[in-house]
């Protein structure tokens, strides 16, 4: 009996030892898990898709063929086709050179689109298509427009590089004209012969622009000219104008805007700042007793004038004042515009073109900041 009791006690002690003996300490902490993936660097969000207008001119700005409404797509959900131009996001470090030389898909991040051009105003220049590229990066938007001029002898249209804006010229020998009035009145203007590229974007929203494009702003002007204005207060359109003779030497497109002002002379305004070119005109009133009359003639002449026939560009630092007392010979001429280095919002758009005389093709490239912070600009 005692033995059984002792065995029982021993078993109970063993059981107690098993039950009550302390647990071992925890094992060491496992390795720290791998870090999560790196956060995405900040990237500019694609600009909003939008409409824009495009036109090209062969010699005369009034005679422009264009695409009144093109769709500019940044979101990657559209393809280059029809009236849609895809703006490609450029890879880091990829920047097209604004030199009028096509760097192709590798330089622009994607393919170009060929858009249909139609007679928009004035006479048909028979340019029926233009190739458009667009690209953007975190700071800038880039465009390239390429078109081929055509010759149509029946309509007097000739393909060729046209780089001559209007000029003042003297059909008469001013030496023979005597008084200042006769001299001043003798000046006449030549016709411009210059190739242009025009682009137009909404600043904010312009009613029906998404339906009719630039036609909604096109109006008959005075003296047989057309001009643009919007139809509602606070509607503004941003216009970029590259021209082969006037803006090309400065490397800037003319950056202007127009609003709802219905005065053809006031609706189109330069952006804030100083422009890349100005008009070389002066209007003087002459009085002859009861007969008052005014006439317009050049304000400046070239430092090498008279009879120098200064070429474009006519830089402001080359000018001297046209005194109207100089002995101009018949046929002498003076540029109607003079160029300056622009400053301010007028200098937002860099532009340069190249003309291939073998194919009669212009390639014009433009560049602007996506956001300029200027209310006279479209913001992308």
């Amino acid at each position: 009996m005692k033995t059984r009791l002792l065995v029982g006690i021993g078993l109970m002690i063993a059981l107690l030892l098993g039950l009550v003996g302390c647990e071992g300490i925890s094992g060491p902490r496992g390795e720290t898990g791998d870090p999560g993936d790196t956060g995405q660097p900040w990237q500019a969000q694609p600009p909003a898709n939008r409409f824009f207008s495009l036109a090209v001119c062969n010699g005369q700005i009034v005679d422009h063929n264009g695409a009144a409404k093109l769709y500019l797509s940044f979101d990657g959900e559209h393809q280059n086709a029809g009236d849609t131009v895809v703006s490609y996001r450029l890879a880091d470090g990829q920047v097209p050179t604004i030199d009028g030389i096509d760097e192709g898909e590798s330089g622009w991040g994607g393919v170009a689109n060929t858009v249909v051009m139609q007679k928009a105003a004035g006479s048909d220049n028979f340019i029926t298509a233009a190739t458009v590229r667009s690209a953007w990066d975190e700071s800038y938007i880039y465009f390239q427009v390429k078109w081929t001029e055509v010759t149509n002898e029946a309509y007097g249209v000739t393909a060729g590089e046209s780089t001559t804006p209007e000029r003042w010229y003297t059909p008469s020998n001013l030496l023979d004209l005597g008084a200042g009035w006769a001299r001043a009145k003798a000046w006449e203007l030549t016709q411009s012969n210059e190739d242009f590229l025009l682009m137009m974007f909404e600043i904010g929203s312009t009613k029906w622009f998404d339906r009719d494009g630039c036609y909604v702003t096109c109006h008959a002007g005075t003296a047989g000219t057309n001009f643009h204005h919007t139809n509602f207060v606070r509607e503004r359109m941003d216009t970029w104008m590259w021209s082969a003779g006037l803006t090309q030497p400065t490397g800037f497109a003319a950056d202007r805007y127009f609003d709802s002002d219905t005065d053809p002379l006031l609706s189109l305004s330069w952006d804030v700042g100083t422009p890349s070119y100005r008009v070389n005109d002066q209007t003087v009133r002459f009085e002859f007793g009861d007969n008052d009359s005014s006439t317009t003639f050049p304000l400046y002449q070239h430092a090498n004038d008279p009879n120098y026939d200064a070429p474009y560009p006519f830089w402001d630092y080359e000018m001297v004042t046209e005194t109207n007392n100089v002995d101009w010979q018949a046929g002498s001429s003076v540029p109607r515009y003079y160029s300056s280095i622009p400053f301010g919002s007028t200098a937002d758009v860099t532009a340069f073109g190249h003309y291939d005389s073998d194919t009669n093709t212009w390639t014009v490239e433009l560049k602007r900041r996506l956001v300029t912070g200027n209310g006279d600009d479209a913001q992308f």
């Binding site: 496992g30 900040w42 804030v272 700042g273 301010g344």
Partner: protein, 425 residues
């Protein structure tokens, strides 16, 4: 019974032995590797946050360079939950930049907040010669977006006149565009004795007077083209003091917007002293002072579409890096204008006061020639030449209109110009 006691005692002993003598278990195995951490946050646009509050002081003159109407220490809050009032301007966030064309774009362009700030005359020396411009109030709108800050300021000039002894009106202040800064005048010297110290604007044909000391005046022969380095003192020449060029000292309509972000005091009075006092007073400035100054002038900066960008530090008023939107058209002490219009001499005379001679663009300016100026009347030249500003001095775009006595000036600047002479917003 004793057996049960013994059993219980033995069990208690066994329990004590078990507690004392039980061994620790072995160390457990290492834990499992932790889970992968969460992904990092996406990058953020560094410019999207609203700017921190700033303080601004505003000074406005009417055809002068001193004696402004001003307001100091206005809080500019970039928090649209606040309300603008007479000492707080609330800048609204805008998704579309206001058009900088010198017209009030009102709520559609600047948002619904605006402030009417009361101005007071600043004349710390109580100089009776300094006229109160009587500009009482300026309407201020401000806005910002991710990259730029915008301001519109609008004030009204008024005319105040008194009758002279003949009953004619003499205008103390005139509501008009004053954009002919520092016009130079060539005329017969007054009959009063010539003051060699103060009357430096004195010249004759190809001879002009220079101040060679405090009182001694020599006649200097300066063969054209004008170059001071080749001028020689001509001791044989007769001194002609009949006619002289002199600055009229005309000011301009001017707006100064002075920014501060640290709110250290005092700074407003110091800034006004530096900008608007002509007596040479130099305040003692804190070494850590950093104020940004936008100076719009109807003559000095408006033609090019900018406001002249300056700053104030512990050393005083300093122009930002770059070139100004104007050149002074005179050089002391040689006392001659530097430039004239291509159409000069005699483009504007006392008999043709309406002839426009401002702005004198750099491309219209030619080197000054003394020949041909009329002596039978007073003739004039611009006191400045308008040029294109550059670099940090050209950071602020500005445009203005003047309509029926009301100036409207709009300005725009990048929040961060990356120029050390500018404050960042």
């Amino acid at each position: 019974m004793r057996k049960w006691y013994l059993l219980i005692i033995l069990m208690l002993i066994a329990a004590v032995v078990a507690c004392l003598g039980g061994c620790d278990g072995n160390e457990g195995p290492p834990g499992d590797k932790g889970d992968k951490g969460p992904n990092g946050l996406g990058g953020t646009d560094p410019f999207t946050a609203a700017p921190s509050p700033s303080y601004v002081s505003i000074g406005i003159t009417n055809a002068t360079l001193d004696g402004p109407a001003g307001i100091k220490h206005v809080l500019v809050a970039f928090d649209s939950t606040m309300t603008g009032n007479s000492d707080t301007v609330v800048a609204n966030y805008v998704s579309q930049p206001p058009l900088i064309d010198g017209t009030d774009g009102e709520e559609p362009e600047y948002g619904d907040q605006s402030s009417k700030l009361r101005l007071s005359f600043f004349n710390p020396t109580a100089d009776p010669a300094i006229q109160d411009p009587n500009i009482y109030e300026v309407l201020c709108r401000a806005a910002y977006d991710e990259e730029y800050i915008y301001m519109m300021l609008q004030w009204k000039e008024i005319s105040i006149s008194v009758k002279d002894s003949t009953g004619a009106d003499v205008f103390l202040v005139l509501a008009s565009i004053s954009n002919e800064l520092n016009e130079l005048r060539y005329s017969r010297k007054p009959d009063t004795a010539f003051n060699a110290v103060t009357e430096k604007w004195d010249t004759t044909f190809n001879y002009f007077r220079i101040d060679t000391g405090d009182v001694v005046i020599d006649t200097v022969y300066c063969p054209p083209p004008y170059d001071f380095l080749i001028c020689e003192i001509d001791t044989d020449a007769a001194i002609d003091t009949s006619y002289y060029w002199k600055s009229t000292g005309i000011g301009e309509d001017r707006l100064a917007v002075i920014w501060n972000q640290s709110d250290q005091t005092p700074w407003d009075d110091d800034a006004f002293d530096l900008l608007f006092r002509k007596d040479g007073y130099q305040p003692a400035l804190p070494s850590a002072l950093m104020l940004d100054v936008w100076l719009w002038g109807a003559s000095s900066s408006d033609p090019v579409g900018s406001a002249d960008d300056w700053w104030i530090d512990g050393s005083g008023l300093v122009a930002d890096a770059g070139s100004a939107p104007y050149l002074n058209n005179f050089s002391e002490p040689d006392s001659l204008p530097l430039y004239m219009n291509r159409l000069d001499p005699n483009l504007r005379t006392l008999t043709t006061p309406g002839t426009v001679i401002y702005p004198l663009w750099y491309f219209d300016a030619v080197g000054f020639r003394q020949a041909g100026w009329r002596t039978t009347t007073t003739v004039f030249l611009p006191g400045i030449v308008t040029v294109t500003p550059t670099l940090s001095r050209a950071d602020v775009y500005a445009a203005s209109t003047f309509d029926n006595g009301v100036w409207t000036v709009e300005m725009r600047r990048a929040r961060d110009t990356h120029n050390g002479d500018d404050l960042s917003f």
